[in-house]
Subunit: 166 residues, 2 copies
DNA sequence: AGCGGATGGTTCAAATTTGAACAAACGATA
DNA sequence: TATCGTTTGTTCAAATTTGAACCATCCGCT
């Protein structure tokens, strides 16, 4: 906590631009989805993840991990999606505690109907603004950041890795 | 709304990685700030913007625009910061409707006390994971995206620019 | 079989965010 | 200077999100 390594001008610019762009993009995505299908971005992400999963179903905890939302947050959203008939809850065969969120046929149709407009926004404000090289670099950057955060345990971050004897 | 230009595999990977990294990063930033100073990321951003403004003060609307939050959202957060004595509300001399949010000395101290830990997280999970070239590319990418969204009026986005006679 | 710690999901209260509705003040124009 | 359309900031209700508390179930060991 002593001498701080401040961000260089470029680093700060990069961070500020990232934060700003992220907020603006989230706002655009949210407003488009809401207008087009009444879905939240969080809800769309849930449907999208489920649609790519083996039998269009996933355990709650795993789904929460993949969409990066708290357990209670997912419980709430699955409840909302269930009300609209886009998702169903099934008890997990192999684990009585478990709950499987299953994408319904109606959910699939909703997703298919919604995807084009969503992709259009992502393209218009981000992807199509970039060169192919920039897209690739962004992929690399975000993948690295994700890896760093998924490996870093809990919320403590030190310069030295956790001692084996601790 | 007819034939959709879907995302290529790389583009999709880039987008998914971006969304995931953003959620994870937001979570880390939020948890660090909360633990270290009881501030929200939104609140930190407000303090930071104010600290860089001429007399450490800014009009509500302009501040809301810069931190990308709704007007009502800013009203709420400024209220919270006021309770903690980090910000004060002043009536705007040139416009009786206006309100100036002013960073107090206490607010400055809070920011100075909080910044090192915040920067450490940003470094640990993002900046320090990247090469200087990648940082520069991210800056360019996010700046372009921001520009695209700030220019695009309202929420309509068409392939053709708005006709002069419309 | 029976413990004891870890996991999976839900419930609950509290905090935050947004858009719509409003009232006050501005400013250009008749 | 009286008026109409804007802009400013707040209030309000509704939706969402999170962490902590909780119960049920699972799993490794005795």
């Amino acid at each position: 906590m002593k001498d701080t390594r401040w961000l260089s001008e470029t680093e700060l610019d990069a961070w500020v631009a990232y934060v700003t762009a992220t907020h603006l993009l989230e706002r655009r995505v949210e407003e488009q989805l809401k207008a087009a299908s009444g879905l939240t971005h969080a809800q769309y992400e849930i449907l999208a993840k489920l649609s790519l999963s083996p039998a269009r179903r996933m355990r709650m905890t795993e789904l929460a991990r993949q969409v990066v939302v708290s357990k209670s947050g997912l419980t709430y959203q699955i409840g909302q999606l269930e009300k609209r008939g886009l998702v169903e809850r099934t008890t997990c065969p192999s684990d009585d505690r478990g709950v499987l969120a299953v994408l319904t046929d109606e959910g699939v149709r909703c997703l298919e109907r919604t995807a084009p407009g969503h992709v259009a926004v992502v393209r218009a404000f981000l992807i199509d603004q970039l060169t192919p090289e920039e897209v690739e670099t962004m992929r690399r950057i975000m993948t690295k950041a994700t890896a760093a955060m998924e490996s870093a345990s809990g919320h403590a971050f030190r310069s030295a890795p956790p001692a084996p004897g601790a």
